[in-house]
Symmetry: C2
Subunit: 443 residues, 2 copies
């Protein structure tokens, strides 16, 4: 509807009304409109007022950002950069080709240039790479009244006014004071008497630590300090939500045997997609050839009874699936901090009992199916069903323990998911299978 209205106004070159309409919307929605009108993106963008334009710009994807930066003058670029929040500017610079980065640096103040270079040097996935520099710093000697008036005059370009940070002369963080507590205090109260202890995170700490703190304490903002406790920036919750989803995406990718990547699927090149998938496929393919070698070893058993060969896919698949179920629950439980390495005995005991129920259930159903539906002999049906039973037990124990073992070895538990577990369990299933076939069928 809105899109149609905008198309019409564009066609009729009714720019005045169009401008009014755009400024009545939120920056997110305007960004969406710009992305859906790529041919008119420059006309539309140039209509926006300076501050609003910068906000819209921060919501655009990098292709559109490049298009705009390429078309505007250095002066306009500088205006946008001045209005951008620092974390949005860093996000933008990280995605840009080097020619644009050079233009950005050229159009930054000296102080900003130093800051930008410092931010670009923070390791990926560190707290430093998530933070922004627009926060409110206050002094412990100030009164509530002074502080509120300071927030009123300096807060408009801060990412949040919800929390202010109390620092001393050395810029060390000594406490926090929320707007709520300021409102509920007397004007004459001193900050030192109403401030709370600050929980902070080091610039170099892994972002998972920040995420955990946000979740545990229901924070909206978290201060970031250096090794000397000097306040360098703040992390806001909107960036934490993005980081949470990125962490989850990484886990999904690792669990499906891929090298994790932050690029969106539709934006990724075919080559980089193939690269992310090849390595693990190759590793797993080579492992699966070992499973195959078990089959060659027992060729006599297979040749004497084709029904035994026909049951292999079912045994392998069910074993793999049963193992993936367990490993997924354990990996996810560890990612959410619900399961720790020390719980391994609890996991073994639980998985053992679960696998007894599942194994007996599926084993008996399979036995009935083979005897009554496909009229296999009792003995053959027994071999397949007992193998199924033991495979499920082995699969669930392997699936439960591999992720814990990975963590113990300081590897990422997420790689011990479906694909790897399946390969291990396949081999186990075939060993059990041929052993039982020889034993029960005397082959």
């Amino acid at each position: 509807m809105i899109t149609l209205e905008i198309k019409k106004l564009l066609e009729n070159k009714n720019y005045i009304q169009l401008k009014t309409l755009l400024h009545e919307m939120t920056p997110v929605d305007v960004a969406e409109i710009l992305e859906n009108n790529k041919t008119n993106i420059l006309i539309l963008f140039r209509m926006l007022k300076k501050e609003f334009a910068a906000e819209v710009f921060s919501y655009l994807s990098s292709d559109e950002q490049i298009q705009i930066v390429d078309a505007i003058s250095d002066k306009n670029l500088q205006e946008i950069l001045d209005e951008l929040f620092f974390d949005d500017m860093i996000d933008f610079i990280e995605e840009m080709p080097s020619t644009i980065v050079k233009r950005v640096l050229k159009n930054s103040t000296n102080k900003n240039r130093i800051l930008i270079n410092q931010f670009l040097s923070y390791p990926k996935d560190s707290a430093g790479s998530l933070m922004t520099t627009e926060y409110l710093a206050v002094k412990k000697e100030w009164s509530v009244k002074e502080t509120l008036s300071y927030i009123r005059t300096h807060g408009s370009h801060s990412e949040t006014v919800e929390t202010s940070y109390v620092i001393n002369e050395k810029k060390e963080l000594i406490g926090i004071v929320t707007l709520k507590s300021l409102l509920f205090s007397k004007d004459s109260d001193q900050i030192i008497n109403i401030m709370d202890d600050a929980i902070s995170v080091n610039t170099l700490a892994d972002r998972e630590i920040s995420i955990e703190l946000f979740k545990k304490y229901d924070f909206l903002v978290l201060p970031v300090v250096d090794n000397e406790n000097k306040l360098l920036g703040i992390i806001t919750i909107d960036d934490v939500i993005d980081a949470i989803e990125e962490e989850n995406t990484e886990d999904f990718q690792k669990m499906a045997a891929m090298t994790p990547s932050k690029e969106e699927y539709l934006d990724s090149s075919v080559f980089s997609l193939a690269k992310n998938r090849l390595l693990w496929l190759l590793v797993l393919m080579v492992s699966a050839t070992f499973t195959g070698s078990i089959i060659s070893k027992y060729e006599d058993v297979l040749q004497s009874m084709v029904i035994l060969a026909a049951s292999i896919p079912m045994l392998m698949d069910t074993g793999g699936n049963a193992g993936s179920q367990s490993s997924t629950l354990i990996i996810r439980g560890m990612a959410l901090g619900e399961i720790e390495i020390k719980d391994y005995l609890l996991v073994v005991w639980k998985e053992f009992r679960v696998s007894l129920i599942v194994g007996i259930g599926l084993g008996s159903l399979n036995f009935l199916r083979m005897v009554y539906l496909i009229k296999a002999s009792i003995h053959v049906s027994l071999v397949v069903s007992i193998t199924l039973f033991f495979t499920i037990i082995a699969a669930k124990l392997v699936g439960g323990l591999l992720p814990l073992g990975a963590k113990k070895l300081n590897l990422d538990p997420a790689i011990m998911a479906g694909p790897l577990v399946t390969t291990v369990v396949d081999a186990l299933a075939l060993f059990i299978y041929f052993y039982l076939a020889k034993l029960i069928l005397h082959l």
Copy 2:
């Protein structure tokens, strides 16, 4: 360290110092201490001041909540209930056995009882089930000064003072006003002139819609309205983060072929774990028997050359893994709103090119491995390697399209993940395999 200090103070019955220590900590940390001192939980809990106790209570897990409620008097229970935020109370009631629910309802005011019953009736995973009732409602005629003084007197028991909600006589939501905009306005400004449009969500809307709004607009709070646009409550971002993680957990579980469950692994009974896993294992097991029937059909081919049987696990596993990779990326992309049904041609074209690269890579490596390492004949090596190539192409197309197809049929794309894709691809792989074996080896 803290834990040790508390143990010591408990042993020495130094309750005064212990009480001071506990009240210097955050409620989250005190809750953690209580959970780690289950034998002394009641002694510790009784030390806490009313308001603080309620907050600590809201962070305890349900087992500890039951233990405490069982031990305290009706009067104490009522005090805690009075202090709890409404959404925490609902969370608590939902986890309690019916005897405790009855006691809670008995100790609630009439008005609260009606509200509780209303909240318990909201569908699981609806916006209504996420919201709380403690918000600040203001009038459009009020001045900024009046509003700020209203927030000062009424805001202490609101979940957030960051945003206030402008409603009319009919309780309809007509706008929002943030604390920041109040601070940056003149005392005499009227609310109607500084308020923003409200974006709200219906009580019955799926919580995924709320999550999307929070992500898109970087909200900290979202108002919830009924069909007549009457304001019923607000959703705060801390509950949204929990909901995001729950949605992700559900996807992980579905993608590993399990019925999703919200219970933590270590808290789940063996029986419920088994139940969640059995159904899908059974479905997939039956599907895998079809794969097996392909093998029986071609028993003559297999019996004439054992190396062909030995390659089956590798072909099946690699096909399954290649398909899981694609389906995982597509499922995740859809969950994050990056891929839509209409993109199916883009997906097919991308997966096709990726699978060409991956298929040629793995196919040639496998050919070299078979010819040079295991000294298989050129013809047999060709059959296996060409099958591998086509299997990877088929797997990636199936893995890319199944989730999109599921979405089109209004099913959850997450069920079209690894396990199901593997089963489909297994059968395809075997068909291609035996067809090529007959063609090239003239069996």
